[in-house]
């Protein structure tokens, strides 16, 4: 009875029953756990990065960031690639492909030189994988010939991509590191090397916090810590920024995108799709909540498409790309004065505090009645008040005032309608 629309989409020539994939990480480390994920509804995976040899890992290896009482805002991890050997992983991949012929088995690989990349490409292709993802982006490798150190170097990216493409018939996705100012450069290099798709972002180099007793970062490993990758919902805005730039880059128009970074809900996933991704990948929220979160991704996206009358997921890919424009091109002809609905106001004064200390002293506070009042002459329409108000719909966008002698040929009501705050 539970509603499910056709969410299928073609990604790099491979039919995917929906766009939801697990990203290469601890959540897809062996056939047994991946089987459970497939049964829960994930369309495919990028198998945890396979190398020539297994890794030597530290303990503990994770930390979380918290704000007020919300844990897992961000997540720091120190795990590298698969702890298993190539041979062991090939066996697992074969098993998966046999048991789940209709699911998509992408496999992430990482070598430390051209020969290793070729060995891995051949072995995984023979194992029966559906696509390859090249890990140019893990920020916590113990070798500088691997991971994000490679991904920051377009020349190496081009070389290794070409080495792989020349030794496989499978579609190849290059996974980018966000630890760089211009992701387009390595992405273009990957395309020149023959990559068919780009996935982004891998984790962001971080020190999550300092332990005040041990005087080192977290997690503490025998009195020390190290810089390593940060992920989770906190990084989503950064991921969306990189995806936007990749989607807008002329030289990358021919490749397909897979979005990664802080996806927890169907809405998060859809945001990546609207920015041009045909595929999305998830890890951190699965580590926190389990594979079952895909149920609400599938169901929530189905309901959304049903409500909007969209029959093919493909029709929504990239719809938002052209609406993100350079700051200098934004319309700066007006300000929107917030409207405070006093019948909803509970008299906490948070809008007043934030406006005075963080904005333009544009709210007057009556300490007798405990009610705020907007001072229109001071208000610049920044909407800080609206973002701190704890009451649903108490402060909403109000009157639109055009700056002296300026107009944009639209009426105020239309402008306000565009704004939806939750």
């Amino acid at each position: 009875m539970i509603m499910k629309k056709d969410l299928s989409i073609n990604f790099l020539g491979v039919h995917c029953e929906n766009p939801f994939f697990l990203s290469s990480s601890p959540v897809c480390n062996n056939a047994e756990m991946i089987s459970k994920a497939f049964d829960a509804g994930w369309a495919g995976i990028f198998y945890k990065t396979v190398g020539i040899n297994g890794m030597d890992e530290c303990s503990p290896r994770f930390d979380i960031t918290t704000k007020e009482d919300t844990p897992w805002i961000g997540f720091k991890n120190m795990e590298q690639i698969s702890e298993w050997s190539l041979e062991q992983n090939v066996e697992e991949i074969k098993k998966l492909k046999k048991n789940y012929p209709n699911k998509v088995i992408g496999v992430s690989i990482m070598g430390s030189n051209e020969e290793e990349w070729i060995t891995l490409a051949k072995a995984i292709t023979e194992a029966g994988a559906d696509m390859l993802e090249l890990n140019f982006s893990c920020p916590q490798m113990t070798s500088h010939a691997m991971g994000s150190d490679v991904g920051q170097n377009p020349e190496l990216v081009r070389k290794y991509t070409k080495a792989v493409v020349d030794h496989t018939h499978l579609p190849v996705v290059a996974k980018m590191t966000p630890n760089i100012s211009k992701m387009e450069d390595p992405a273009i290099a990957a395309v020149q090397g023959g990559a068919h798709g780009i996935s982004a972002i891998n984790t962001i180099k971080s020190v999550s916090k300092i332990d005040l007793d041990h005087l080192t970062g977290l997690p503490v490993v025998n009195g020390k810590s190290a810089i390593s990758g940060y992920s989770g919902n906190a990084v989503k805005p950064i991921a969306l920024r990189f995806i936007t730039q990749l989607a807008q880059c002329e030289q990358l128009k021919t490749v397909q995108l897979s979005g990664i970074g802080g996806i927890e809900t169907w809405q998060d996933a859809l945001e990546f799709i609207l920015l041009g991704c045909r595929n999305v990948q998830v890890t951190t929220s699965v580590m926190q909540y389990g594979y079952r979160i895909v149920e609400d991704m599938i169901n929530g996206l189905s309901h959304f498409m049903d409500e909007r009358g969209v029959d093919n997921l493909e029709d929504m890919v990239g719809l938002a790309v052209n609406n993100i424009i350079p700051a200098e091109e934004l319309d700066r002809s007006y300000k929107i004065i917030p409207a405070i609905h006093l019948e909803k106001c509970i008299g906490c004064g948070r809008c007043y505090v934030s406006c005075y200390d963080g904005a333009h002293q544009a709210i007057a506070w009556n300490s007798e009645t405990r009610k705020p009042e907007i001072l229109i002459d001071h208000c610049v329409g920044c909407h800080l008040c609206l973002n701190v108000c704890p009451v649903f719909d108490c402060i909403t966008p109000g009157e639109v005032i055009f700056k002296d002698g300026r107009d944009n040929n639209r009426n105020g009501e239309d402008i306000v309608k565009q704004l939806v705050y939750q």
Binding site: I2, T70, I293, E295, D296, H303, E307, I346, F392
Partner: protein
């Protein structure tokens, strides 16, 4: 600011969570493995799943989960004794206090109503089959919905002018407004269920219906109020709880003056009577029962509510005589063990001492060739249990269709 104690008798709606509050509460949910709350719901409404849907911003999915398993999802969100069902099982009790599951269910059901959504659809598995459900209370409604979803053509018969049974005529509107009952009923109508109201089925008619329909479900509840066999029980001014509550509801709370009220009974119905009397402006109200305060069967939340409204709850006294000339004037009580005597002036006495079946119901139930469920089978329990029994009867009925 002061939190207000709701005292409006007939509110249009009961205020629920907005999106932010719902998300805040859903974020408190621990998202347990094999959620114990879901096991605590007789009808399988699956709070573990619908709260997770809210948490992951899929309110449609939450409402869909509720609707799929509980055709009275909107009503149950308001009147189910969650504190002794799903919320009692909540793992969060091990940390502080349970998730407010009823409030989250209300939030999802309000979303359905505001957006006029339809989550249930009809299959034609048993198209052509015809079933009559007698009684338009929770058990019948639930049975009808399950059958209708599989294409059975269902007609519900009820002697009252509106469907809902005890939901409509016994539960007061400050707990369950008409609009919420209508929302649930509307789902049945969308499934094509037909209602024949103001139509009291007799034993003779039932015989005829057995030939006309492929099967019959009877869920006619327990509408006969138990009486007390003590002197003065037939004095004017002594009324039964169901009679009082349904009269108040039909009159939209505009009743002749109640004067001084004495309520006898310590169950949920007694608490409903006490709060109703308060809202209708009774001069004084005493609720007196034979149990101890903690032993009285009403859920704690309702006892506390009545206490907060300022109604004294007097425990461990049993009524021994209603005293008066042409109508009741005083009630005499005796302590259950220590011999104390209590006499209270009363213009109205409301007896909330339990319900029983109407006489022919038992013979219908036991006749063997029909299905039945709800209060008349379980002896009087929650709405959500009636929903479960209605569903189970529907499943058995459909199995019998398959076998034939």
């Amino acid at each position: 600011m002061v939190q207000k104690l709701v005292v409006e008798y007939e509110p249009e709606l009961i205020e629920g969570f907005d999106f932010r509050r719902a998300m805040e509460e859903a974020s408190r949910c621990l998202l347990c493995e094999d959620p114990p709350c879901s096991k605590g719901c007789p009808s399988g409404t699956d709070p573990g799943k619908f709260i997770r849907s809210i948490r992951f911003r899929n309110v449609n999915g939450a409402a869909e989960t509720i609707r799929t398993s509980n055709i009275l999802g909107a009503s149950c969100s308001l009147i189910c004794p969650q504190e002794r069902l799903c919320e009692q099982e909540c793992s969060r009790c091990g940390i502080d206090r349970p998730i407010q599951i009823g409030k989250l269910q209300q939030f999802a059901m309000e979303y359905e109503r505001k957006l006029n959504k339809t989550y249930l659809s009809k299959k034609d598995t048993y198209a052509g089959k015809r079933v009559a459900c007698i009684g338009a209370g929770p058990a019948s409604l639930s049975c009808a919905a399950e059958l209708a979803k599989q294409g059975v053509q269902v007609t519900i018969f009820d002697e009252h002018p509106k469907p809902g049974g005890m939901l409509r005529y016994a539960i007061p509107p400050y707990r369950l407004p008409d609009a919420v009952i209508d929302q649930d009923i509307h789902q049945l109508e969308k499934l094509g269920v037909k209602f024949r109201l103001n139509d009291k089925v007799t034993t003779k008619e039932l015989g005829k219906m057995k030939e006309e329909y492929d099967n019959i479900f009877v869920g006619i509840g327990m509408w006969q109020s138990k009486m007390l066999t003590i002197p003065g029980a037939d004095l004017p001014g002594v009324v039964t709880a169901i009679e009082f509550l349904s009269r108040a509801r039909e009159a939209h709370g505009k009743m002749p003056s109640l004067g001084n009220v004495v309520i006898v009974g310590g169950g949920d119905v007694a608490m409903d009577c006490a709060a109703t009397c308060k809202m209708l402006g009774a001069a004084s109200i005493y609720d007196i029962f034979i149990e101890t305060i903690e032993g009285a069967p009403a859920v704690q939340k309702e006892k506390e509510y009545v206490f907060k409204l300022g109604v004294p709850l007097i425990s461990e006294f049993k009524p021994v005589e209603f005293i008066g000339q042409s109508r009741v004037e005083r009630v005499k009580f005796e302590h259950m063990s220590n011999g104390s005597i209590l006499e209270i002036a009363a213009d109205t006495v409301i007896l909330a001492v339990g319900q029983t079946m109407q006489s022919e119901a038992a013979s219908w139930r036991d006749s063997g060739d029909i299905f039945s469920g709800g209060d008349m089978v379980n002896g009087g329990d929650t709405v959500v249990r009636a929903v479960k029994e209605g569903k189970e009867a529907a499943v058995k009925m459909m199995e019998s269709f398959t076998r034939r």
